[in-house]
Amino acid sequence: MIKDFVCINCPLGCQLTINYDGEKILAVAGNACPRGIAYVKQEFICPLRVLTTLIRVKGTDRPIGVRSDKPIPLQKLLICKDYLNHVEAIAPVQCGDILVKNICSTGANIVAASNSESKTLY
């Protein structure tokens, strides 16, 4: 059986085609580099994505950008986001600070992706 994927590792966006039988991948075509093969193997079993979103910061009126420190299953992205809606970081936050450990049992931590700003400066 044939299935198509788009590799999201880099801006090239290789269009990958796999030939598979049941749960076994027989052949991969269309990848420009080895990362494409690793990607499609993972994507076929369980797509993974890095979560990037906003959370509130106590003591400021601005949100802060956060990310998961490793990719998490795609179908858990919105579950993790729901959880983060109830999380408030406490200022000051530095880029790289771990804010949530092992979010929703995915094994990934949520880390700050920028420094919090203490006041409105506009």
Partner: protein, 461 residues
């Protein structure tokens, strides 16, 4: 987290520190003034400093460095440069921390009002009032702004709830406001696609992404990870023909369009929404350059530059999105570092005049950077960057000079959304260079010269 230059803790120069400095008289002098403290300006400043320029001043209109990266909380940055997948904010921090670490001076909250051909800059800031600076060299790094609804001329009322994608991104990511609940996105540029995903994450409903072209102008991977992953529909060859609502937008009319871009009767449908987000392209923000009389290219919207990123005014350089719109910030950083080196050389050696040759676009080729190449004795390669005007399949890019092909490069697919990059050996360049694209690449190599001649005639006429 690894940094190229690890800053000491608490080394971030606050506004207070950068404001107690040697520039207290008016008018002032500086070796190098960089207009814009985004990714281009910071990279140019760092590279000029590393190449021996001490007296650098960055002028930034926002309250902190970083430019548009400050509002880019999504990942996908830095894969080329740092070999790791960073968010835009993390990417900007690596540079702003290095700027602080190198003690490069910057003024924030400072808007530049004008520049002149003899390198006089007039700026205003709440702290200093009017500032006049005489610079030995200037680097333009102002970035770009978004095309607006006015540029599209969509009929209908003028209700609240219409945003450009970058504005919506700023409201959400920097200021913490949700722009709406039921959203239609017009245009499939990368910012619009990224925002579609962010809207879903923030609990909004993205009704549709509407694209007038038969393909997206954004990256394919963004279609996958922003739309397909979240089951957001995208409608190609469709556009918004009318906006409904008086106080707040209540809906938009969508129509399919025919090959002449006219709406097809009978395909109209009303989609209820409270927000319309426009992601319809970027325009280099060049008002300062225009007012200074710098020659601009109508293809790129940016200045005409040579291979050292110098404009037609000696000592004024341009880099980043103000020069041409880039796909990736990694490329902006590389280009800006080259501009920083050129500005450093100009300050140290003065203006060096060389004969130049031109780079000429063939059929289907859009804006090229650089437009001119200096005939120097240097051995570094020359990189040409350009976009195509249409989509090509199984295409061959041919670079030629003196009716001789210098280089051919075959691509499976080329879209206007993706910048093409070709590196040339400088030693081979001695007369004007033509860039041509042929579809359905020929297997018969012997045909190349005759076919090339045909294309060259078209260019000449």
């Amino acid at each position: 987290m690894e940094y190229t230059n690890l800053p000491p803790p608490n080394a971030r120069a606050s506004d207070e520190i950068s404001q107690t400095n040697q520039y207290e008289t008016n008018p002032r002098a500086a070796d190098l003034v960089i207009i814009g403290g985004g990714c281009a300006g910071m990279a140019a400043a760092i590279s000029a400093r590393k190449n021996g320029i001490d007296d650098i001043l960055i002028l930034e209109r926002e309250h902190s460095l970083g430019g548009v990266l400050r509002q880019c909380i999504h990942n996908g940055f830095g894969i080329h440069r740092f070999r790791s997948d960073l968010t835009g904010t993390e990417y900007a921090l690596r540079f702003s921390e290095e700027v602080d670490c190198l003690n490069i001076l910057y003024y924030t909250n400072t808007s530049v009002l004008s520049i002149t051909k003899n390198h006089t800059i007039t700026a205003v800031s709440p702290h200093y009032g009017v500032i006049v600076i005489h610079a030995k060299a200037i680097i333009l790094a102002m970035g770009c702004r978004e095309r607006s609804r006015g540029a599209l001329s969509i009929p209908g009322t003028r209700p609240a709830g219409i945003f450009s994608a970058g504005t919506a991104q700023r409201y959400m990511n920097l200021e913490g406001y949700k722009v709406g609940r039921k959203i239609v996105i017009l245009g499939s540029g990368d910012i619009g696609l990224i925002m579609a995903r962010e809207f879903v994450m923030e609990g909004c409903e993205v009704k549709a992404v509407v694209e007038i072209m038969p393909y997206s102008s954004g990256l394919i991977r963004n279609i996958q990870q922003c739309l397909t992953d979240f089951d957001i529909p995208i409608h190609y060859r469709t556009t918004v023909t009318r906006i409904e609502g008086t106080d707040r937008i209540t809906g938009v009319w969508l129509s399919q369009i025919d090959t002449a871009n006219r709406p097809i009767a009978g395909t109209e449908r009303l989609i209820a929404c409270d927000t319309l987000v426009l992601s319809v392209g970027l325009i280099p923000e060049n008002e300062l350059g225009i007012a200074a009389g710098i020659e601009l290219s109508s293809d790129t919207g940016g200045a005409v530059v040579d291979d050292s990123y110098q404009t037609d005014v000696p000592g004024i350089f341009a880099c980043g999105n103000v020069l041409h719109v880039h796909d990736l910030v990694d490329y902006v950083s590389t280009e800006s570092e080259a501009a920083g080196i050129s500005a450093a050389k100009y300050i140290q050696n003065g203006f060096e005049s060389y004969p130049v040759i031109h780079v000429i676009a063939g059929l289907g080729v859009g804006g090229i950077i650089p437009q001119n190449i200096r005939l120097t004795k240097m051995s570094d390669p020359v990189t040409l960057q350009f976009r195509t005007k249409q989509r090509f399949k199984d295409a061959r890019i041919q670079i030629s000079s003196n009716v001789q092909p210098l280089l051919v490069s075959d691509r499976k697919i080329i879209t206007p959304g993706e910048m093409c990059e070709i590196t040339l050996d400088r030693a081979k360049i001695n007369s004007d260079i033509y860039i041509d694209i042929f579809e359905n690449k020929r297997t018969d190599e012997n045909n190349a010269p005759s076919n090339y001649k045909f294309s060259a005639e078209v260019i000449v006429s």
